[in-house]
Subunit: 624 residues, 2 copies
């Protein structure tokens, strides 16, 4: 009996219209667990080297994990992965909401989609049954319209839908997959891969509840979360203000990305903060499956922006990327930009970066009104920002180029535009300033998906004892020493090594990293769900294995040591604010990268050694 | 509040007669835990490179751990370490009984002894008070006499005594430290280090019970052991026949060291088996502090050998080393040899090997009756064996040379004697045939203490699923694949990497590896004892850290890659029995050693990389 899983992986070949089901053995499940573990496994095994990310051979993989759909906070998630059209390397994104749990309850642990449909289709999965359905009438619809139409067509408002919007249809390289209208598998361009397959949506409905080995143990942890999340500063803050609550603190510290990362403080920060949001446009809070924390905002805005609350509202990353990083302090405009990103299926982080990049190019004279179709793309121009979101999704005007992401756009623009393209490996930077959080910066440089903040460390949690409760998770892994944010010593590298293995594990499990279970509690949870006599040590090895697999995938695709870098801007000191004079030392970063390689068992070129792959039980990776 | 420890480490300088107490901070305890962790820490920090193991500067360290003295099976142990006079590298030995718990209850977590007393002394530690007492009258006494005299002198039969015998006084290089008369910290010559310091004994008495963070959790695990050990094949077997129960199975498999490892089957095996012991000379069973398993035999023998049951009785290692490996099937003679080893303080493994070595040299004509003082040292000569034990302890006749261990004796004998010296790094082989258990053989080659079976893997536990319960401990570390005993593939190397980290952890904890707690249960136990929010992952890192520290110590002392080998005999196939034709492939062993280095983060020369030391939080090791 396999607890915690359905034991079935669905395969859909859209070129052939064929659906099949794999039933892997328990060893597969225990070794790769789920989420990023599954995705990196199948991409390595099944995708030939060098395939076009937007070609029919790319695999698009929706993956759940053992926690998905279990009756406990943090279980509403799934990962979506493929070779990334943004980085040409390993791509995936994790997402919350309700779709993941519903999908798991519908009888599968993952879907592997290959091929390309001749015309637009959507998948309909209900309690194990799978249909490939026509979606011509859904094409070019907003996500809101599309969800409504599918739910009507299927006659069930309980159907959960993961879908692309116009941006994915247009293969915008950072288009996302949206589920439940307000949750986005945002990063690495998974929407474009789905669009390239002519797959508009996956609708799911399932009534098969999670089969747990020890329901009592799981319930007891679920109860612990309910009883304790408000006692914990971090969770309580999330529950009160969502991630937006972090904005003012980052601004005060000088770490709020502002005007395309030129500054770390924003004059209008108080106008776009979590507090400002709460006291103005917030109309409700929403959450994910089984979670009491409810960290997601729901906003409504009237004229002139008219924001529909069905799309939720902007969280920290969006407030900073469409706000401060574009020099914009107009909260209603940011909410509109966020709504459009949800309606069109755009990753708000990359979208905001692309707009900020265009603004800096405009201010530097690299772009002119001729290029922008008359748009005055100065920092702070809220209306232009909203218009650009639309143009990017629809690939109109300058949006055609910006839809390619800042790395490719910089090549098109030339004239030094690459100096203003804030990306690593082609993926735009999240809203965590690497000069402020230097461990995060190191993580950006090394992460398999390029600039990524979800499999990384947030240095600021670790600057003094006791660590903030969120960060204290690393204490159970043996990290006790407080370290300054501006530090790239070997001790910081170690923190990243352990931290990113831990975060990779959470992705494999697929468990929300905002929920406060400590590593030992996670081990208890997985024992309770699966019945395996497993340990945190075995589970951390799953995370480590996954780090090695994603790296190996990148190496195979030509994404190598040369792609482990940071944009030059971060080697230049801030000239004002609390971080005046602070930058990343280029030599120190290079040394930290070398140290990271050595610590995780990669050779000097950043290639996992055969012995490390053998130690992790994945020597087959060396052959592919 | 530091739970699970006394927070005090006693230092005694015997040259100066000075006693001091260190009170390390919690970070020290959490990072190094105890046992081998403490010993390797202090040896690296305090002993200068290249010091004589038998000189006054060597540190002799008695170390407890968090489990020592707690009310749970497996907690009666302590480790004793120093630079080894046998290997000139890292030395330590673990021992059970009652002394360790009593020592911990007396108020200290470890004693570090340096210097050399001018005349024989013993230490008397009672509830924190420490006295250096005259021991001139105890010198040259047997352990039995000495214990009686000290207990009378102190007027307390509850005093527990760890002591050397005549062998330690004479600095026999494999002399041991005996506590409670029948428990030996046997290996690596710790008795000689103690003897070189003129320290006869350490008597302890303590009334301070273990201070536990969560006594309920600890008690519940203690109860679990009591309720379950008889349901477990391995523990039940130990309880019934002790380790001696393994002898017949090993003989049937062709893996019973016989006649100095020339054969793997012994004709007289059934006469020296656990079953034979039980049905003849066994008069009782004894155990260790708080342990219900009671795996130790107590034997009595009349004329002509007259064996006193106060010294316990022979266990598997002794039955094979003084028995089959000397070609001897006379159980009473073996029991006598065992009694003498306890009374004189000799390691039975090295003693048996030294005698078998001498026998083979005799049969080969390298030694003659002239050398042996008329002793006919043929294999199977039981009387000669008993006599040689005595001669070695007293350094009489040929015993003077054999007291140096087989490696040094082979140099003295010359004429190819080194071909018959079964040792690694100078330490004689335990009774696990490396051609049979090849992972064990690899472990012998790599272990910091030379040939050692306690920080190693027993391949035979892992040859089929389900693993035998004892071995199933590795399942919780993610090892599931059965592997044949005769295998040195990378998968086997991985098993050794994980297994030896696990065993190093147990030594640090100081917890008996016969008690059936699984790794996750061990993590629960340590959480319950210490109150730390620790995890198995953090604890396994303690084991890994300790592996790196002992290696670093060896490298510093000149014990390097060149010393990672096996005796040539094991590259030659058996010529009969179930393992006819089986040997270790020399090239395969070399590859396995290289793979091991790479897996654990050592460079090609077997030196831990700076990055690995940094990752383990012990970059200071690189400086010493």
């Amino acid at each position: 009996m396999l607890y915690g899983y359905n034991g079935k992986i669905l395969r859909v070949d859209l070129s052939q219209g064929v659906k099949t089901v794999d039933e892997p053995d328990e060893a597969f499940y225990r070794r790769y667990i789920g989420g990023r573990g599954f995705i990196s496994y199948f991409l390595l095994k099944e995708l030939a080297a060098g395939e076009d990310a937007l070609g029919p051979k790319n695999r698009l993989i929706f993956a759940a994990g053992p926690v998905t759909g279990a009756p406990i906070a943090g279980s509403g998630r799934n990962s979506v992965g493929a070779k990334s059209p943004l980085t040409n390397g390993y791509g995936d994104a994790e997402v919350g909401g309700y779709w993941g749990a519903e999908f798991k309850h519908a009888g599968y642990d993952a879907i592997i989609i290959e091929g390309k449909s001749e015309s637009p289709v959507y998948l309909w999965i209900e309690d194990g049954k799978v249909e490939i359905k026509d979606a011509k009438h859904l094409w070019s619809k907003t996500t809101g319209e599309c969800q409504k139409l599918i739910q009507e067509e299927l006659g069930d408002k309980g159907v959960r839908i993961a879908q692309i919007g116009v941006a994915g249809e247009n293969q915008v390289r950072y288009s996302c997959i949206v589920n439940d209208l307000s949750h986005a598998a945002g990063r690495t361009g998974m929407g474009a891969v789905m669009g390239a397959k002519n797959l508009k949506a996956i609708a799911v409905r399932g009534h098969q509840k999670a089969v747990l080995s020890d329901a009592k143990a799981v319930n007891s942890l679920a109860r612990w979360i309910r009883d304790n999340f408000k006692l914990d500063k971090f969770s309580a803050g999330l529950s009160k203000n969502g991630t937006a609550g972090a904005l003012m603190g980052l601004n005060r510290a000088g770490g709020l990305p502002t005007s395309n990362f030129r500054q770390g403080m924003f004059d209008g920060a108080d106008k776009i903060s979590g507090e400002a949001l709460k006291s103005s446009i917030l109309v409700g809070r929403r959450g994910c499956y089984a979670c009491p924390i409810r960290c997601k905002p729901e906003v409504a805005v009237g004229e002139p922006y008219n924001v529909d609350p069905i799309y939720g509202g902007p969280e920290y990353e969006t407030l900073a990327s469409l706000g401060s990083n574009c020099g914009i302090d107009n909260l209603e405009a940011i909410a509109k930009g966020n709504e459009l990103c949800s309606a069109y299926g755009l990753d708000t982080i990359s979208t905001g970066n692309s707009i900020a990049f265009a603004m800096e190019c405009f201010e530097q004279g690299i772009l002119t009104e001729k290029d922008t179709g008359g748009l005055k793309l100065n920092f702070g121009n809220a209306q232009a920002m909203v218009q650009l979101v639309e143009m990017i999704a629809k690939r109109e005007g300058i949006g055609e180029v910006l839809a390619e992401g800042v790395a490719r756009a910089a090549e098109v623009f030339g004239r030094g535009a690459e100096n203003f393209a804030m990306h690593v490996k082609g993926q735009e930077l999240p809203m965590h300033e690497p000069r402020f959080k230097q461990g995060m910066g190191l993580g950006y440089a090394i992460s398999p998906t390029g600039a990524d903040h979800c499999h990384n460390i947030h240095d600021s949690f670790y600057t003094r004892r006791p660590f903030s409760s969120r960060a204290a998770q690393l204490e159970t892994l043996g990290i006790f020493e407080p370290l300054p944010c501006q530090d790239l010593s070997p001790a910081k590298v170690r923190m990243l090594v352990y931290g990113s293995q831990w975060q990779h594990l959470l992705n494999c499990l697929v468990f929300c990293y905002f929920v406060q279970l400590s590593p030992p509690q996670i081990a208890d949870l997985i024992r309770g769900i699966t019945g395996w006599d497993t340990s945190l040590w075995e589970l951390m090895k799953v995370g480590e294995r996954c780090v090695a697999m994603t790296r190996a995938f990148n190496i195979r695709e030509g994404v190598t040591k040369d792609n482990d870098y940071l944009p030059r801007r971060f080697f230049v000191p801030f000239t004002s604010g609390p971080l005046n004079g602070v930058s990343i030392d280029k030599g120190e970063l290079a040394r930290a990268i070398d140290t990271y390689y050595a610590m995780v068992g990669w050779d000097k070129n950043g290639v996992p050694t055969l012995a490390k792959l053998q130690e992790l039980g994945i020597e087959w990776v060396a052959r592919v």
